[in-house]
Structure formats: C-alpha cells, structure tokens
Symmetry: C2
Subunit: 424 residues, 2 copies
Amino acid sequence: MSVDLANLVTSIAQRARAASHVLATAPSEQKNAALAKLADLLPASADTIFAANQRDLDAAAANGLTPAQIDRLTLTPARLEQLAESVRQVAALPDPVGAALETRTRPNGLQIEKRRVPIGVIGIIYEARPNVTIDCAILCLKSGNASILRGGKEIFHTNTALAALVAEALAAADLPADAVQLIPTTDRAALNTLLKLDELIHCIIPRGGESLIRFVAQNSTIPVIKHYTGVCFVYLDEQADATIAESVTVNAKTQRPGVCNAAEQLLVHAAAAPKLLPRVATALIAAGVELRCDAASAAILTEAGIAHTPATADDLKAEFLGLIMGVQLVDSLESAIATINRDSSGHSESIVTTDAAAAARFQAAIDSAAVFWNASTRFNDGFEFGFGAEIGISTDRLHARGPMGLPELCSYKYVVTGTGQIRE
Amino acid sequence: MSVDLANLVTSIAQRARAASHVLATAPSEQKNAALAKLADLLPASADTIFAANQRDLDAAAANGLTPAQIDRLTLTPARLEQLAESVRQVAALPDPVGAALETRTRPNGLQIEKRRVPIGVIGIIYEARPNVTIDCAILCLKSGNASILRGGKEIFHTNTALAALVAEALAAADLPADAVQLIPTTDRAALNTLLKLDELIHCIIPRGGESLIRFVAQNSTIPVIKHYTGVCFVYLDEQADATIAESVTVNAKTQRPGVCNAAEQLLVHAAAAPKLLPRVATALIAAGVELRCDAASAAILTEAGIAHTPATADDLKAEFLGLIMGVQLVDSLESAIATINRDSSGHSESIVTTDAAAAARFQAAIDSAAVFWNASTRFNDGFEFGFGAEIGISTDRLHARGPMGLPELCSYKYVVTGTGQIRE
C-alpha cells in the first residue's frame, strides 16, 4: 500500500489518542452540549444529508446492493428524525464515566477506588447503515471515548456529510474535532493498517454481517468485541404451559425473524410432545413458518396431519434468519441442555416450563449470553433490558456479553490514596 | 505440521470445552475438595516432583537458561510448601461463580439477573516457572474454568509431574480429568494450532516475557489478556512532602526493581526541584541507583555535587528493570500528566503532594491501571489490593485492568425470568 495511506491512518489514530485524553475528563455537560447540538443539526441539515445520501443511492445498484441493503442505506425525513431523537435520548442518559464501582480500605490505610473510565480509542468498522455512524459516534462520545469510524464504500458520501455535522457539534461544545473521525477512504489497505495500530487504538467493534466480523477478528491485533448473529433455541419442557409454549415460540420465531435474537430451533420434551407440538406447530405454520423436523417430531406431526419437511443434520443447528424453524424431540432436560450447549451459538435461549427446578437447572447450565424462562428470546436487547441504548449484543465472553450499553463501553482504573505508604 | 499434532491439540480443546460445562455448575465444595487434595499431594509427592525437576535442571544449561532462569525453574522443599500453601489459600477464598452482580425488574415484569459465570476454557501460555503451572490451574479451577496449560520445553518434565498430581486431585473430587490439561508437547506448531481454536477456547493468558506475550498476541485469533511489564512514573509535585517524596520514590524504585510495578522514571516539578531533588537523589544513590538525568535535573545535581549521568531521549521512557532511574524536571502538573500519558506504559504511576486538588487532577487525568497519591507504585498487586490471589496484572483495558483476581477470571450471563412475556 502507499506510504501516504499508512501515514494518513496512523495520523488519524494519533490524533484520536490525543483527543481521548481530553474526552476522558470532559464534564458531562460538555459532552451533552455536543449531543444536543448534533440533534439540532441533523434535521436542520436535511438538504445536505439527503443530497449526499442520493449520491450513494445513485451508485447502489452499481455497487451490487440488494433491495434490502438499499432500503437500509436510504435516509428519509422520518429516519432522520429518528436519528435526532436517538441522539437526544443518549444525551439524557446518565454519564457512565467516573462512577466508583468498588471502594475498599486496606489494613495499611490505603484507600482503593475502582473507578469507571473510558476505554480510550474505539474503532468502529461497519458497512452501509447510516444509523451506525451516528449511533456509534454518540455512544462513544457519551462514554468519553474517541472514535474512528470506517464505513463501507456504499455509504461514503452519506457518512462524510454526517461526520461533518458531528465535527460541527463537537466544535460548538469546544470539544476536540478529533474526538470523532471518519476514515476518509474506503481502501481496504487503510483498514488493514488501522487494525494493526494496537498502540493507539484500544478496541475494535465491527458492526455488520458475519463475513465482515470474521475478517476483522482474523486481521486485527487490537482486541475485537464481536457481535455475531445467533442460533437461538426454545425448549418446551415436560411441564410446559401450552399457552405460553405457543406464544413464546411464535414470538421468538416470527416477531422479527431476521435478527440475532430470533429463535431458529425448537426442542420439545418427548413426553410432552404429543400434547404440545401439534398446537405449537399449527400456530407457527399459521404465522408462515416452515418446520424442518427430525424423525421423532415428524412422526407426531404426520399423525396429526400437520405439514412439515424432513430436517437435514445441518437444519437442526442452522441460523435461518427467516421463516424456517428446526424441530427436534429430546428425551430429557439434560438432553436439551447438552444439545443447546453443543449446537447453539450461545446468544439467547429460552425454556418454557412450570417446573421451577427444571428452569433453575436450565438457567444455570445453559452457557449463553441470555437464558430466559417463560419469555421470548427477542428480549435480549439493550433497550428491552433497560439500558437506554446499546451499541450491539456481544457474543464474546470477555469484557462484555449480551447487550452493550454505555457502561460496557468503559474500562476502569484503580485510584489509590495513601499517606506515604511504602511496601515492606 | 503433522495432522496428528493438530488433531491432538484440537482433541484436548474439545475435551476441555466438555469439561468446562461440568465445571461451570460444580459446587464450591467439590472444587475446594480437589484443591485440598492437591495441597496434600504436593508435599506428599516431593520425591517424584524433585526427580522430574532435576531432569529439567540437568538440561537447563543446554537449553541456554540464564542463572536467574535456572533459579526460577528450581523447586526446593520450601518452594513446594509455598505452592501447597497457595493452593490452600485459593481453596479458602470465596467462590466467584454464581454471584448476582445486578438485578432489575422491567415494567413488563421480566426479572433480569446479571449472574457471574466462568469464562469457559482458558489457555495459559508460559515459560519456565513451575509456580505458574499450579497457580493458573488452581485459579482457573476455583473460578470454574477449564484450563489448557502450555509451558516451555525447559520445564516439561516438572510440568508433567505437576499435571499428574492435578489430575489425581480432580479424580479424587470426582471432577473431570479434562478440567486441567497440559499440552504434552512443546512443539511450536502445537502452540500455533492452539492459538487458532477460537471456537473452543475463550481466552488466552500469556505469562512471561514481552517477546512471548507479543508472539501470542500477534498469532492468536482467541482474545488475549496481556500482562506486559511497566514503565512506571513517580511525580514529585510542587507541594510534595519531602519525607514522603524520598520514601515513596526509593521504595517504588528499589524495593524490588525487576518487577512490573517498580518505578522507572522520576518527574520533579521545577519549582520544587532545588529543595526536593538533592535529598531524593542522595537517598536513591545510597540505595544503589544510577540516575540518568535531563539537562535541568542534571544542573541541580551538579550544583549540589551529586553523581549522575546524562540521559538519552530513550532513557527517559525506558523500562530498566534494575537499579537505574530516568530523571527529568517538568514545569507544571499538566506537563507531568502529558509526559506520563505519552511515555508511560499505563501500568502504575504515583504523585507525591500535599495539594489535594493537584492529586485529584492527577488521578483523574492519568490513564494508567493504577494511579497512586502519596503511596508507592509497588502496591499495584492483587495481594496488596486484598484480592487474595492474582493471575497477573493486566495491562489491557478490556475485560480486566490491573490485578486480576478470581472475579476477573469470570464472565457473566443474563438470567431472565418471566411469566410468558412476548415482545410486541
């Protein structure tokens, strides 16, 4: 790659690092003033934004975007107002920085405070969703982190227009312009340089499809927090309430089938299946779901005259992200747990049961970010959990797992106060 | 590399993953029983251990070990008793697993518990210290994690003997033997395979010198928690108490100069330097320290007739790990902060001052894992912080920063209980 490009990216990271030191101690009021300004600028700059967005839309077909991708790329007045509203909401959230997470006094009199602080510099690597530009910039800013944004080429003009507004809002609040920077090229070589700057950038969050996340995880020497999509299971226990079994399964599968916390797989306890499965299957089919069944579940549905197709082995651990569901019987709670811990992606699983002991065992033994009892997997979400905002749902186990709100965008440090203590 | 070797390492990781599911819900009593058994086995198996250790010692010179490395490799009856005692101490610590870190009830009635759980499978990559084998095995076991240990070839026979005792202790407590596994080869290709098994291993902790840590960080697709050594600063403020300035600086520099939380660099406020620096320098020299001074500090010491050498630019940000200290004057608190945030490694820094406002500014603005006021940097340590044990001192910002005790070897999951809630 060109030396100039490497120098450009390195310079951006160096300036982000310098800005991060200012942001780390910026008062909440100053950060909120920048956010308030940005919320005003977004609708006020609609013409500029739409013109930039139109340039990206004009190139979308040539860029090979699907209709769904073009839809996500498109900014409308309503979506712009949603963006402004999300900025106002983040401004209204409590500042996570500076909280004393723990305090202790040692026998020698040392006072130790574990204090929440920003991570430092966060790189966001994403594709063609303009809301990611604003969401990530504001969540990083609110949590005192400098951010470096690298969106896809399909969204380059929109991003450039949005980044200019963020810079204007930062300047209005007397915060460093380098606090939020957009990489001004979508050259892949620039990304590769960025992912190796582990001395300057402290965390990479890729937002996008699995191939993007895998590319980033494989090529980054900076720690990456991954947000993979999910192979989520619903398990109907021997003692499941039939009404809850039906409503939770249908909701988990169909309420928004293309997202990560939608259910993909249904397990039914064999002893309860003759009673439960026909009812649940009928409701799923009524909602448009194709059922791909193992032999045991297929036999019950055949007996009941309910449509289904045979499952391949892959179907029973697949992420369909659409109106298809794998179905299989298990002969025990332990078998359900073993199946889920083997074949789920560790995202969101649910047990439906009236048996509190079975639920406790399931919730203890299932190794997933969120484990539900008598509730839809669709609740694994920062807003639904009451976090007020989220930058994504982590499928990692280190640092953050599940919905990542503002506190999860922070690290901590130990602030230790003494009276001259020395170590013996 | 050979297919057999890749299969061997993969099989170890698969069995570790299976064991991790058992460990995750193992009662505290069962884990503690294994630890108690191990504490008994260590002294009881002294002959076997010393014989294995002697094989490694016999090869040490041929392996190119330095006298200091050979010393660290050597097991003695006293060191074996220390190891057994450390096992007993970890057994006595509270079990970190299962604690409810936060609970909340949502308006729709969902009860959300953030519950501490083990990370899963942890890989420990280390060199030639037998205490790492035992320390890491017991800390992972206590925190419910399966561990895979990969020590250097210089310690292979000792490790094999120690791992056999761990296996015996696990069996005595009816825990899976695969909960702690030693990679039975020191072939570098096996390590390279291990570092790519991100589907099975959740965290890698390298324990050793900087080159080992860099190798692991560069080659792992598994998240790595790094424990680099430190370029730690002591700053003597304009309002420093001279007695504390002397004792803290001497202690931070000389109490154990070869470790990561020892001070390497001294900053002195120019206005206080004529009074403070001669006294502190004299005490440092009396303790055997060579002072490498910038021009301004050198002028004061020359005036006072105190020995010193001129510093190169590198000297003023170096990690000496010995009885050498960089010395420079700064003209303000802000200049001290900027110097430290630029040139320290973010490990441990200390301000000496009687000015509470200066201390508060320093502790807020310094971006290091531990920031001390009127206390030695040497206190940045899990035992000194009261954690009861530590697996190291993280220089990372994600997941864990500073001393890592048992809670830092854990992740969390959300346990959500409902009454049939579905998402609208």
